[in-house]
Symmetry: C2
Amino acid sequence: MGTTIKDVARMAGCSIKTVSRVINNEPHVTQELRKKVQAAIRALGYSPNISARRLARNKAYMVCILLYPGFDPPAAGLLPRVLDIGYDENYDILFQSYFPALSRSRNKLVELIGGRRIDGFVSTPPCDADGFVADLLTTYKVPLVQIDPFDRSGSTPYVAGDDFQGARAMTEYLIGLGHRRIAFLAGARNLRSSVERLAGYRAALAAHAIPVEERLIEPSEFTFDGGYTAARLLLARQPAPDAIFAGHDTAAYGALFAAQEGGWQVPRQLSVCGFNDLTLSRYIWPGLTTVHQPADRMLEQAVRLLIDLLNGKPLEQREHILASRLEIRGSTAARGGIAAG
Amino acid sequence: MGTTIKDVARMAGCSIKTVSRVINNEPHVTQELRKKVQAAIRALGYSPNISARRLARNKAYMVCILLYPGFDPPAAGLLPRVLDIGYDENYDILFQSYFPALSRSRNKLVELIGGRRIDGFVSTPPCDADGFVADLLTTYKVPLVQIDPFDRSGSTPYVAGDDFQGARAMTEYLIGLGHRRIAFLAGARNLRSSVERLAGYRAALAAHAIPVEERLIEPSEFTFDGGYTAARLLLARQPAPDAIFAGHDTAAYGALFAAQEGGWQVPRQLSVCGFNDLTLSRYIWPGLTTVHQPADRMLEQAVRLLIDLLNGKPLEQREHILASRLEIRGSTAARGGIAAG
DNA sequence: CAATCTATTGACAACGTTGTCAATAAAATC
DNA sequence: GATTTTATTGACAACGTTGTCAATAGATTG
């Protein structure tokens, strides 16, 4: 440890520049000398000092992923894959909490950019609901890739899921099961995905000429408690809904809990479904029917896109929409069992 | 952007060294000059280049947390708190997948150390089941804090939960409910916590003079599938157990699923409980009775310990054992309802 | 065989900080 | 008032890489 390029040069009997060439696979070194240098590197257990390289190259080789402070724990299951990409591409990946409109968050961001500590950013929703990050990074000319941005105008590349189609497909699936009184748990209005999902729900009902009953659309946060509270409210009213479609799995967990606690048989008396297909959704009983959203692949692709950009590869397309698909499990069933209720 | 200490010095009309003194809150600068420099810093939006500082100080200000590749997604809920510590102490926190005995993992580790890229490490189980990391870091004199290490000898500081007492208390709670045929889902033998929990289970039975029935101890992995398979096996045998104590919540989810799928009424006919209190355990229905293990605080404390060490603070004690407590929810109940089965 | 071109190699500056130490100015002591 | 001490300031080297460019050796051409 503490061995530098000088030690290697001394041992191999050449200049430091030649060693540098070998390290970076540059041409203009004879096979013979190259071998000798490589042997010296191995013998000394040398690896280049990253800080020095970063300074000399004026590049941090570091990418930052902005996360909303209370971000969904299960969503972190995607970490390992992202880390692997970083490993392969020789970038370090830094996670950072970011809460919009918090001066602490903003200062940190400015510090990271100004200190040339980060080459590029990935923002996850709803971190940049107000567009501050996108604006700041644009003026500083620091690359950014957004995940599911609220505002899709502008020129920032982004990755998103197909929320509208997913919600529409799920609603049609429920209609196909015979359900007519389908409640919808909508999320925050500053979440693009939330807005899109609600639109998909409405579109499906409209396509089947089922009038939208506004009382069945319950504004709730995409959290367990939000789903729980909203479901209790909905189930207490007469007539009760046939099905509850939560805009997010976490809210669906809350709804499921409330239903089972209230003695409802799921899915015999009530169908429940969600959106996102979090890891957990397969584990609870009955398994949650949901729209599978490839969250891991979204983050993965965002990081890959960013790194390609940093490596000088030109951007081929600005929008990257990943398809979603229905994941049918045990929490939904055909209407009819309901006669018993 | 691109502004350096030189620009600030020029604007403030002083040397770069003086600016450096102001940045680092060093003495020997008059109030007057200090103000002038600070004004220049603000005016230029300057923040010091981190790579240069790291090189000059020969310190990376970077800490690495080694994670087992398939680590439990919910466990990542602790991320935000850890990130905040890093922020406050001005260290970057880097996550790295580490799979023992994989040359790729080992090489990366050597690279991180040799390149002086990381000042210190935190290892989470079962990354270092074979002790390779601890040995390597010891020879390189790179600080390490372990979480729940398998081998507690040696001199490496570590943080762990009180697995033995936790499992013992849970078992005694079940005994208190009247259960006698208590099955235990044991985990991998290279996990310290797994071994300790089994020992706690045995100790509780022994204390109440209940003979340990080896057929009730089912070796299973601490995963959903492991718990599912083991529970199906146990429930198919005659006589069936009164209760299933899974050594980990994830396995408990599997057991719960298997039981409910098989038509068992939980907790009327069968009590199920787990260990760890993952975020999910509150969300499933019935809520999972479990041993609360402060996983977030464990990681938090490990990181804090490491940073203190790196800041030159002497280590006060090598062992940090955090207490656990029972978290009673709906998945366990007194025996007696069982008469119906 | 001289002249040109090409491939290899290394000396040295640069990157933007911090650390060392000497120079100066101001204050305190005799 | 001369001398010592103390506080302030800056010139310059160092950290370990990479980039520029000139020097050399070898191959190719006329």
